[in-house]
Every structure is written in structure tokens, then in C-alpha cells.
Amino acid sequence: MKITKISRPIVAMLLALPLFCGTVGAYELTIPTLDYRTGPYAPNGIPFANGYGDYMNMLNARDGGINGAKINLVACETAYNTKRGVECYENTKGEGESGALVYQPLSTGITYQLIPKTAVDKIPVFSMGYGRTSAANGKIFPWVFNFPATYWSQATVFVQYIAEKEGGFDKLKGKKIALVYHNSAYGKEPIRTLESAAAKFGFEFMALPVDHPGQEQKSTWLQVRKERPDWVLMWGWGVMNQVAIKEAASIRYPMDHFIGVWWSGSENDVLPAGDAAHGYLSGAFHQPGGDFPAHTDIRKYVYDKDMGLGDRDRIGEVLYNRGLVAAMWTTEAIRKAMEIHGTNEVKAVHVRDGFEALDVDEARLKELGLPNFTIPVKITCENHEGPGKVALQQWDAKAKKWSLVSGFYEPLRDITGPLIAEDSAQYAKENNVVPRICGS
């Protein structure tokens, strides 16, 4: 499968550079990365991309890739912009001998673009905990995987956490929960879930949108001050997080009643608020910290050889670890695909099978040098969300460290289940998708 990109010959002509030499050799696994190291969301994109890339480079340096097949990372800069993301996708999908094996689109907008496109091109999308929630329904979205948990599961976990702190689900009645959200497709995700939860448990729910970029949120927080909700949840992104945490601190909102989605819980988000951010909570599905054996290997095999993508002392930041865990699951899926199909020369179609049979349990995590790092994940044909479990982490402003403060909660599937079924059925209807039959 060799699609000659016309851009290359043009470039080659322009520069008179021999580009096509010496690349014939062992089979390489091409994994494009749609990074965003520029633009308004770059501060979040950089650590993720570093973690993702470092882990794969570490595998290359330590094990010679996956089962001996080298990984070829193809970086493409999207600036978190959907149009550039589409260009990147078209540009990289035919790259190398293997073709692009899997995409990690890293933005809700790009994910929505790629969901139908990849179904046609037959390339799996791993939108880890973001993108289209109803893609959890593997019968209708065979090419999309959004494990380990979706926004909707996460919203129900927050409700559970609140119930636990308040002293039981029956205590939720009459409580007021506010959602401060990024006014975009991403930010609107949890609204329906929270509305049905509100109807079920009898708490009052209010939604407060914040427009991109979210530098000025005075009116939002004045409303919080006026309405005095018992808990505030946040679906924020980029500069909006920093400003929100700061504003919340300014109106002296109790930080331990303020819970952010897992994209609102990185070091970048809390550091500008200083000590005032102490006690702020956020969702998480993996541990923070850089002392796992895998991190040691990254330092040894990558950073000691000066091949690291980022700063050595930023290894182990929340978003770095998120990139790392994404890389871990991706490579494990490829490994699984090799196992299933009995060859190292896997293609995108095989990798999809690998994802669908993915089973990374605690024992395997330990082998990978990530003991207790995250939850065990097992994917089936119907369920592409996997476990759906979420924990909460809390910020300690004095130690400047995040740490998990709760166990992993099961999502309230009686709330998310019907919503997923409804939304995926609507997609299937609008796009003439026939649900496939699982379990043969």
C-alpha cells in the first residue's frame, strides 16, 4: 500500500533532495500523532504529546519496538484546529508501508470528523475518554474506542462522590449542583447525564456556559456567588481552567466542593492560582507521579540519550501520564493484534481487532512497569468504553502535587446506558448504519 504523496515529489523537486533512499527495510508500525504544540491549547497538548511519544520511543529503544517491529511516529501539528486535523489525517493515513495504524485525534472536533472518515478508510480511532460518548456502543461504532471511561460515566461518578460526601443518595435531594462548562460540543457533553441524574436524585442542576477562550468569567462566578450551589463541577479547557480556579478562589468558594473533569485537572490549571487552589478536585483514571518503573525506563532509554521530547523534570505530570497511558494501551492493542493474526506486519484492520480483544489487567500492568497505574481494561465487541471507572484526585498546593483521594467508582450505568443507546441509535439512523451483531 504505497500512496505516493504528491507533496513529496514537489518538495523533492524544489529542494533537489533525494528523499526516497534507504527507507526500504524492516516492517515499521506507523503511528501518526496529531499533536498540538501551538495555539491556545498548547499548554495542555505539549505534555500529552510528550508522554505519548516518549513511551513509544522508549519501547523502540528498549525492546526494539513492539515484538521487534519498530514504531514510526509521524507527528503532525493540528494546533487543536479541526481543519488542520483533517489535513493531517489525509496526509498521514497512507504513510509508510503499514499505513496509519491508529489515530488519537486529541480533540472533540477532530474526533467527530474522523469517526465517519475512519469507518470508510478502516482505521481505528482511539479517542481515550473524549470525543463522541455514544461511540461506547461497539455495535454501531466498530472503529471507535473510547475506553477507559466516558464523560457521561465521569459525570455520574461525580454525582456518586458528592452523594458519598453528603452522606448518601437520599441527601442529594434539595442540593444544588452547578456545571461551569466550555461552551462547545465538548463542554456540553455532561449536561444530559447530569439532567437525568438531577431528575433521579432530586437535586437542582444549573448550567453556566463560558465562551472560548474564557479569560473573563466574572459574570459566571458572580452567578455562582449569588446562587450558592453546594457543589460546582467544571468541564473546562485551556485558559478557562486557570481563570475559573482563580475566580473560585477569589469568591472563596470551598475548593473541596469544586470538581473538574479530567481535562481540568493538570498542573497547568492549578499552578497559576497558587495556594488558593489547595484542595481542588478533578476526575482521573490513572495515577499522577513519575516514579513508576516505566518512567525510570523512559529516563534511562530516552532522556539519557537526549531523545526526550520534553523537559526531564516534567515527566510524571498528569497530562504526561495521560499521554503515556494512551501510548501503553495503543501499543498493547497492536501487540494483541500481532498475537491474534500471528504476524508482526499488522495493518490498521488488524489493530482494530487487537483493540476489540484488548485485555490489560493488573498483572500485565505490572509487567509493563506500571503497577497500579490505572484500572484494568477489557474491551468487548459491544462495549468500547471498557470499565468506565473513574477516581478523583486532589491538588495539594503546598507539595505542588496531585494525588488520588478516592477509589475507582463504577459509573451509574442505569443513567448512562439508555442515553448511549439513544444517541447511538440516532447516529445510526441519520447515517444509515446497520448495527453489527456481536458474539459469534
Binding site: 507533496s7 489525509e90 496526509n91 455514544s134 462547545s184 456540553k188 442515553l419
Partner: protein
């Protein structure tokens, strides 16, 4: 020697008034059309068609639209993104409600709806001028996007507020959505753009177009000689929005397939189209194409040269790319403030005299 009209005698008024009075121009246009419809779809692969040609053509259409308003009528607008959104959401609702009408009529109707909205938001232009008007049109931009983001009816009440285009066919070929045939998509868009580019050129040199230009050059003087500012300005807003609405409809239904209003039609979109016409040349249909080509192609070309050619780190390449584009904009403006179209005109003048300097 080759490019000159010597010896081409016009024997009728009709011939003298033709859109392209010089034979060589006509040949060039025919050649371009043949290349566009015959050769390009054969030669280019999916990457080129989808990532470069489609956005180039769609932005060209939007740029022609804005050029009618800004270049010909002198009213600076920053509401382009909002008007494109009107086109996109109109075509979405129409595709759901009346799929039997066929895709092209639906695009035209979306254009008409946008024209109506554009005329409404053009009303302040009767009192406000220059940069004040430019910033005032941002009211339209922000309001429209807010509306599409907030009112569930526009996106059929789905969970995320994104719209995705249902598949539609033309002559039995799927032309919208991801399964659409790339070549069919390209031919459809290229066809629409060609037809409406010629139409724009025709309108611009006719009575309405001359009224617009009179308003642009000096509105008080134009009023004194009998051009009615109300009609001229609002018609410019209407025609311009019609083009932009169609561009928005194609942008959504044919190119992207699914959009969310806050990102796909945000203010950067408005700026981008404005940049295109300034770089390309105000008051020139050809300039709109040049501008769109420059701003769509240049970043991708730079990126590919740096990343694929030199193996530059992707992030650094993105930074260098933005610096280069910025420097090129300034450079072009210094060399030729009237845009790429003016360079083309100068080149033509030179060609007429060639090989003699005077």
C-alpha cells in the same frame, strides 16, 4: 508579442462588451476550465482533492462573496464566519426536511436564506462606516454563532450540538458525507464555483456593480449623481451573503461533513476570508482565487517542505510556518499593496509590450 489585442477587430457591440474581450484571455480561461474539470480530477489523489482543492475552492467562493461587499462596495465586514454558519445550518435543516429537492437547489436556497440574514445585518451600514462598520459586523458574527450553539432546533437537539451532513446523491453518486466520492465532490464544487465566479464578474461590470463601485469610491458623490445608497449597499450585502452562504453550505456538507459552530465558524474564519481578499486584491474576482490559494496552500506547502523535506520538528515547523506566512503578508503588501491581482495586471501590461520595454 503573444499577448496583445492588435489585429483583433470587434465588428459588433456584443463582441466588444464580452466578458473577456481579448482572445488570449478567453483561451486562457478555456484552458483553465479544461484543466480544472478534465485533468485535475484525473491527476490528483484523495489527499490533494480533499485537503487542498476543496478548501481552496470553497474559500474562493467565500472570498468572491466578501470581495463583492468589501472590494466592490467598500463595506468592510467581519461577519463572514457567521454568514457561512447561516448557510451551513440552512442546508443542514433543508437536507433533513426536504431531501427530495436535490442537493444543488438546497445549496442555492441556503444561499438565499443567508442573503436575507445578511441584508438584515447590513442595515447598520447605512449609518456606520469604515472600521466602525467592520467591528459592528462582529455583532452579527458573535450573535449568529451563539444562536446556532444555543437553540436546539438548529442542530436537531442532539447531545453534543454538532451537526453532521446526511448522505445525499447527485446523478446517483454520493456527494456529501464521508462516503462521498472525492472526485464527484470536487467536480460539483468546482462547477458551482466556476459558474458563480463568472456570474460575479458579470454582475460587477453591470449596472449594479458600477453602483457599488460608485458608493465605494465616494458615497456622497454617488448619492448626488443618483445612486441610491440604500439599494446599492443592501444589494451588495445580499449578493455577498448569497455567495458566502453557499460557501458555508459546501464547507459543511461537502468538505467537513460535520461541524460545531463555535469552532468551524468562529471569528478566525471571518478574518481568514478578509485576509484572502486583501492579499488577493480588493475588487477583483481573480484576486479572490489568488488570495484563497495563498492562504490555503502556503501553510500546507511550508509545513510539508519543513516536516517532510527537512524533517523539522512538527511544532517548530508550525511556528516557523506562522512567522513565514506573516512575513510574506507584510512583504507582499510592501511590494504590491493592491494584492496579487494587481501583480497579475502589471504582468499583463508588461506582456503586451514585450519584448520592448516601452
Amino acid at each position: 508579442m503573444i499577448y496583445r489585442e492588435t489585429g483583433q477587430f470587434k465588428s459588433s457591440y456584443q463582441a466588444d462588451q464580452a466578458l473577456f474581450p481579448i482572445n488570449q484571455d478567453r483561451y486562457v480561461i478555456f484552458a483553465v476550465l479544461i484543466v480544472t474539470f478534465g485533468i485535475v480530477p484525473m491527476l490528483l489523489n484523495e489527499y490533494w482533492l480533499n485537503a487542498i482543492m476543496l478548501p481552496f475552492l470553497i474559500y474562493s467562493l467565500a472570498a468572491i462573496g466578501l470581495n463583492i461587499l468589501t472590494g466592490y462596495c467598500g463595506q468592510v465586514s467581519l461577519g463572514t464566519g457567521g454568514f457561512m454558519a447561516v448557510g451551513a445550518y440552512s442546508v443542514y435543516k433543508l437536507m433533513i426536511a426536504f431531501p427530495e429537492l436535490g442537493f444543488i437547489p438546497l445549496v442555492l436556497i441556503s444561499g438565499l436564506i443567508t442573503a436575507a440574514v445578511g441584508t438584515l445585518f447590513g442595515l447598520p451600514s447605512l449609518r456606520i462606516k469604515g472600521f466602525y462598520l467592520a467591528v459592528a459586523t462582529l455583532a452579527a458574527q458573535f450573535f449568529l454563532i451563539w444562536l446556532f450553539n444555543k437553540v436546539g432546533w438548529f442542530y436537531n437537539y442532539n447531545a453534543s450540538g454538532m451537526i453532521s451532513s446526511p448522505p445525499m446523491t447527485l446523478f446517483g453518486v454520493t456527494i456529501t458525507g464521508p462516503e462521498g466520492d472525492m472526485k464527484a465532490k470536487y467536480l460539483l464544487v468546482a462547477g458551482l464555483v466556476a459558474v458563480f465566479a463568472l456570474a460575479a464578474k458579470n454582475i460587477a461590470r453591470g449596472r449594479i456593480g458600477r453602483n457599488w463601485m460608485a458608493i465605494r469610491d465616494m458615497d456622497i458623490a454617488a448619492e448626488l449623481i443618483g445612486v441610491r445608497p440604500l439599494i446599492a449597499k443592501l444589494s451588495a450585502f445580499a449578493v455577498s451573503s448569497f455567495y458566502i452562504g453557499m460557501a458555508g453550505a459546501l464547507y459543511f456538507a461537502v468538505w467537513l461533513g460535520s461541524v460545531e459552530p463555535t469552532e468551524a465558524f468562529d471569528i478566525n474564519q471571518s478574518f481568514l476570508v478578509l485576509f484572502m481578499i486583501i492579499i488577493g486584491g480588493l475588487g477583483s474576482v481573480l484576486g479572490s482565487f489568488f488570495g484563497a490559494a495563498f492562504l490555503v496552500l502556503m501553510p500546507i506547502l511550508l509545513k510539508n517542505i519543513m516536516v517532510d523535506g527537512f524533517g523539522t520538528d512538527a511544532a517548530l515547523a508550525a511556528h516557523i510556518e506562522i512567522i513565514t506566512v506573516g512575513a510574506l503578508i507584510v512583504g507582499f503588501l510592501i511590494i504590491e499593496p493592491h494584492g496579487l491581482a494587481q501583480l497579475w495586471r502589471i504582468a499583463k501590461e508588461k506582456l503586451r509590450l514585450w519584448p520592448f520595454p516601452h
